[in-house]
Assembly symmetry: C2
Homo-oligomer: 310 residues x 2
Amino acid sequence: MVLLKDIGERQLIKDFRSFIRTAGVVGPGDDAAILDGGIVITTDSVSFKRHFPKGMTYEQFGWYAAAVNFSDLAAMGARPTGILAALSLEEDMESQDVYDIMSGISQCAEFCQTGIVGGDTKPGYGTVACTAIGSMDGRKPMLRSGAKPGDLVAVTGPVGGPAAGLAAIEYGIDNEDAKNSLYLPVPRVETGMKLASLGIVTSCIDLSDGLGTAANILCEDSGVGMDIGTEFIPVSSCVKPVSKETGIPMFDLIFRFGGEYELLFTFGKDRIDELHSAEIDFSVIGMVNDSGKAEAVRGEDRREIGYGRY
Amino acid sequence: MVLLKDIGERQLIKDFRSFIRTAGVVGPGDDAAILDGGIVITTDSVSFKRHFPKGMTYEQFGWYAAAVNFSDLAAMGARPTGILAALSLEEDMESQDVYDIMSGISQCAEFCQTGIVGGDTKPGYGTVACTAIGSMDGRKPMLRSGAKPGDLVAVTGPVGGPAAGLAAIEYGIDNEDAKNSLYLPVPRVETGMKLASLGIVTSCIDLSDGLGTAANILCEDSGVGMDIGTEFIPVSSCVKPVSKETGIPMFDLIFRFGGEYELLFTFGKDRIDELHSAEIDFSVIGMVNDSGKAEAVRGEDRREIGYGRY
């Protein structure tokens, strides 16, 4: 008898693909599916069990439930056109808390220049499943599968903040910056659209499962490897003190936790000027190779980057 | 302190509308939302807690999770173009049961001429939230709000089967027909598309919350009333014996339970020949009036039809 927990998430998604058909331009397995007509759609659920860290408000939980979905649209370069929310909640929840969740979803949607277009509420155990829908507006979608040896690897902003936030909560450390980056992730929708508009990105993914997992997925889906120079990674200022106080290695906080919503992408190294002139925040952190492995490099040191574990 | 259970479902949906914006042709509050470009989208979640009656298989549960969404598309007259599934499941579930849920979703999608285009799996408590997407293909969507006094009221097929199935399970009665109509509801996608193509339907809704609730919603949203002649309602043959054995009145089995997926619709009475020539199964069961109430009529008897309670 094989239980659900015995199957890795990546394996489960692979198994599920046998049930899934490619209904349009891009099939499932990427951040979002693309249907005929350039419609982009993705669904992701969050639960009180797993995504409601201590100190988070219901409004933030709602924002989070929406943000993880908009982030998947951002990774493809899509413009959000709406979000739906299916709430499955305990019946003895305070109604105000439920309205706060809706308000959080709505605020995140507004931040992404769109709104809630539908939903459903059922008695349940504390799960919010949002579905975000978007449009490519003629842009070519950014996939996980196009990175080529020689491409540069870049990230759109600092990493490690949410991991530090989670660690701060677990260890009872007072660090508001860290906690807030965990509670209120910013989906990089505008950046994603700009990147896709340039037409120079060869692969892209969001960091929702952590930098380590994201790097490994790009390598696996593109059939390449990559070296990431750890000293080039932009790291949130809150990470170092939290690492010091908790004893959790910087490497782990940077690579092994999820809850991040920056974008990791690759592009041809001769196109870097176009990125600079497009007013996109980014840091080059490595280079694609043909090793088949994602490795962290610092001077002579070289270390394989595992999948995340958050 | 107001708890979620103290607020009626209809009131909750009304309260939620303040968070919801109309992003396209039809806003939320109908069976599905319609975005610009004639994209129709709806989300509905089911849970082990509430939608997994004794004797149902995991495959049937998956079919059910998909069917409730396709039924919402059917009520608008949309052609399904894909479905997404967000699974939130206990980690100690048997993996085969999870694959069976996916298989059931996939089979229902295939039945509706489409497929699964994406999804998500998270540890949780047993909720499956599907999102169905569809296209109007230029047809005018059927709404809940256009019924006019004088219109005829019709239903696309027999009712009461799922209610009888639920009663049979609760009372331990052996009635396979009743149980199967509960376990494997058939979303009326093809009928919905045909009805919308005719362009003669003034309002439409599916029976997922029961015939009584559906009739009341059409009245409320259209600002009308209706008389339904109980002797004209097509009733599944399994309903009478179950009513007899359980002592649950026929009226309740017909009006007060959900889990039905036929369509209730209204149309101008001078257009009935067009319906007949379109090879659509339907039974005229009543007439729209301006009373503001949905009432069941039999001879001289007249009785207000309440909202369902399933």
